[in-house]
Amino acid sequence: MPEAQKPLELILARNLLSSISTPAFLVDAEGTLVFFNEAAGSLVGRRFEETGALGPREWGEAFGPFDAAGDPIPWDQLPLTIALQHGRPMHSRMHIHSSSGDLHDIEVSALPIVGTEGFRGAIAIFWPVGAEDGSAA
């Protein structure tokens, strides 16, 4: 029997993210970006179908988060990384570049996913600053 099946918690999380218009990333317990939804794709300028899964540091570099001073935010200080490594929620504000070079000012909340059999991964949702009208994407 194949062992590649994703944990149910990640399957359900992906189904949820694929059904909502809030931009969101899903990473597994190893830190691999295993899915991002269409709304997140609009934000970063690429569709998940184009990028496929990205390794732990690949996705950090691919979307190049910057702080308010324009300095790159180290991978281990990203909210998603903190949720992964420390198993706790994290929220912060940052800037990202889309593939077209547009700079987005966003807020990010990351949440760990813990199943009955332990830590499964994390979700990060993004909110473009200034999108208070509810149309985040």
Partner: protein, 310 residues
């Protein structure tokens, strides 16, 4: 491995003249292994008549619970072997961070719902969280895995030699996403059911009924067929019949399912519907010509592709 259905109804027992042919008891399937080991899949009300049939025949019985919704445990306290001091009953079920399996089941087998407490059961009973790795019961290997339903819920795969049974009676794998849009590893239950000799799967709703029940943890027939096709099951037994579905409706339901299976380019003899007190067929379907007639016309047991005709 032999398997017999003792209850195929979902949600709540539905006894009555209009359900006599397919049966009104809730989920329960008896599995006998070649080495004599006895397994019982779920403890819906079908386990009561099963227990009467088993009395005195088994020293050890393994009950595999998929989850603890009432239609899957309601018959447990009426299972006769629980009242035989020499019988060893091992009950497996989903783990929960909230309480042990025994404590959760004891909520049902205790006052005010029951006159008998778990600790008063005369048999030797033990409760075990289903392991997250494959384990052995007699001559079979057993695998449990969480599947998409409401609350902690397992599916099981039982493999003996080259025969495998996948039992996923409560399952909504297409919730929030079309199965056609998902990679194999993203489909709930895929690994459990892949290439199974027989897949017993939730088929509670028609496509018309499903929108009003989306998210309740059950499948519409379109998704059941898509899942079975995707995993490459050699046979599919439609299970967990809605209590509103009477015999005549189920006759047409399975005939329609078999026709839709044929439209996928598959042999309609692979499609069956679970019926109480009937054995399930593990053998590969006969030649298409011989099987096609069994699904060709609705309206009678002889013409419907039930588990004995397939």
């Amino acid at each position: 491995m032999k398997a017999t259905v003792w209850g195929a109804r979902g949600s709540v027992p539905a006894p009555g003249p209009e359900t006599n042919r397919y049966g009104g008891n809730t989920s329960c399937v008896h599995v006998s292994l070649d080495d004599g080991s006895e397994l019982v899949l779920d403890a819906g009300t079908g386990i009561r008549p099963l227990g009467l049939a088993m009395t005195g025949t088994a020293e050890r019985i393994h009950i595999l619970l998929t989850h603890l919704h009432m239609d899957h445990i309601q018959g447990l306290m009426f299972f006769a072997p629980l009242f035989h001091p020499k019988t060893d009953v091992i009950i497996y079920g989903p783990a929960s961070p909230e309480a042990s399996l025994m404590d959760r089941i004891a909520r049902y087998i205790s006052a005010p719902l029951s006159p008998v407490e778990v600790r008063e059961l005369p048999c030797q009973v033990s409760f075990r969280d289903a392991p997250d790795i494959e384990w052995q019961i007699g001559s079979a290997s057993v695998r449990a895995s969480s599947v998409a339903h409401r609350g902690p819920t397992l599916g099981y795969r039982i493999t003996e030699g080259d025969t495998s049974l996948a039992y996923i009676p409560d399952h909504e794998p297409a919730l929030g996403a079309s199965l056609d849009s998902l990679g194999d590893e993203w489909i709930s239950g895929y690994a459990l059911a892949r290439d199974a000799s027989l897949l017993i799967h939730d088929a509670q709703y028609t496509d018309a009924e499903y929108p009003a029940h989306m998210g309740w943890g059950h499948s519409r027939i379109t998704d059941t067929l898509a899942f079975a096709h995707r995993v490459g099951a050699q046979r599919l037994a439609l299970f967990h019949h809605d209590p509103m579905h009477d015999d005549d409706m189920l006759d047409g339901f399975v005939t329609d399912a078999a026709e839709r299976w044929r439209e996928r380019g598959c042999d309609p003899a692979q499609i069956a519907i679970a019926r109480e007190r009937r054995p399930l067929d593990f053998a590969r379907p006969r030649a298409p010509d011989a099987s096609a007639s069994s699904a060709s016309a609705p309206g009678s047991a002889a013409r419907s592709p039930d588990v004995t005709s397939a």
